[in-house]
């Protein structure tokens, strides 16, 4: 069994091959669209990576958002002054139940004041609880 004679080439092939190969330097250099766009794609990819990385870092290092003091205060007032839930069952849910307009903290304070709670009482309660 021979190592190379089992495959052949057309007559005069290598002469022709050498001639064709030696013409390569004279060929105009063609740049494919993929190669032309590669630098821009790389910049876009780097930007995307930077944004994602920044987002991930911020998510892990930023302090937890502070509790909404207004809502804590309102919740406290609702519990303290309206234990039966006549005004609302859950101060955080009331927005849904109150319809599309919703109620602001100011509305609730106004309601409580209109309901006979004095400003002094409100201030006293907020002072007592450290709000």
């Amino acid at each position: 069994m021979s190592k190379r004679n089992d495959i052949t080439t057309p007559e005069g092939y290598f002469g022709d091959l050498q001639k064709r190969l030696s013409e390569i330097p004279a060929r105009p250099v063609r740049v494919s669209p993929v190669h032309r766009l590669a630098p821009y794609a790389a910049i876009a990819a780097s930007f995307l990576v930077a944004v994602m990385l920044g987002n991930a870092i911020l998510r892990h290092t930023a302090p937890a958002p502070a509790e909404d003091d207004t809502w804590t205060y309102v919740s406290y007032l609702a519990d303290a002054l309206d234990p039966d839930g006549a005004v609302m069952m859950d101060p955080y849910d009331y927005g849904e139940e109150a319809g599309e307009e919703g109620l602001s903290a100011e509305d609730i304070v106004n309601y409580l004041l209109a309901d006979g709670i004095t400003v002094e009482h409100l201030n006293y309660l907020s002072y007592e609880e450290g709000y």
Binding site: K3, D6, I7, T8, Q18, L21, S22
Partner: protein, 173 residues
């Protein structure tokens, strides 16, 4: 003619035939080998400015040829998968239908057995058995230790021996 062109022409003169035979063993078709050799020499021409002379010219040329051939094989694998055939079946078909295959049934069986070897073992087998390249040179081309190459060649030999049902390697390492 500048220096780069002169060097390129020397490479063509010196290595085109060797590169062709090397590639032909992988692709099992004259037409594909011809296309691939042109791609390889185009690559050599474009990479010539980066050739620093640290590696031997021969090693550098063979490394490019081997890498380009492997890339071709990977592309061929995908093409075969898209045609719902295996690369092994495609290689067998090529060997059977190659009009420039001039060997006997045993040569054909050997070519088929080599085509079925895993990529790395096939590389080592072709470089060692057909190209008769010393292990030290193979080590530079494939960037693999001599020991690992010897082990790969031994395993490849065993697989070919088992596929052929006879020993064709008597006296070889």
């Amino acid at each position: 003619m500048d220096n780069a062109e002169r060097l390129f022409n020397e490479i063509v003169k010196e290595y085109s035939e060797r590169v062709y035979w090397h590639v032909r063993r992988f692709v099992n078709s004259h037409e594909d080998a011809d296309d691939l050799v042109q791609e390889i020499f185009l690559k050599i021409w474009t990479a010539l400015p980066s050739f620093r002379g640290e590696a031997q010219l021969f090693t550098w040329v063979y490394r490019i040829a081997t890498n380009e051939t492997l890339n071709w094989l990977r592309r061929e694998k995908v093409r075969s998968a898209l045609r719902f055939t295996s690369i092994d079946a495609e290689m067998e078909r090529r060997i059977d239908s190659d009009p420039f295959f001039d060997g006997d049934a045993a040569d054909r069986a050997l070519s088929k057995a080599v085509a079925k070897l895993p990529e790395k073992q096939r590389q080592v087998f072709i470089l060692r058995y057909y190209d008769e390249m010393p292990y030290e040179q193979m080590s530079e081309v494939l960037d693999t230790s001599v020991g690992a190459l010897k082990a790969s060649y031994h395993i490849a030999q065993e697989k070919v021996r088992s596929a052929l049902g006879k020993d064709i390697f008597t006296g070889s390492d």
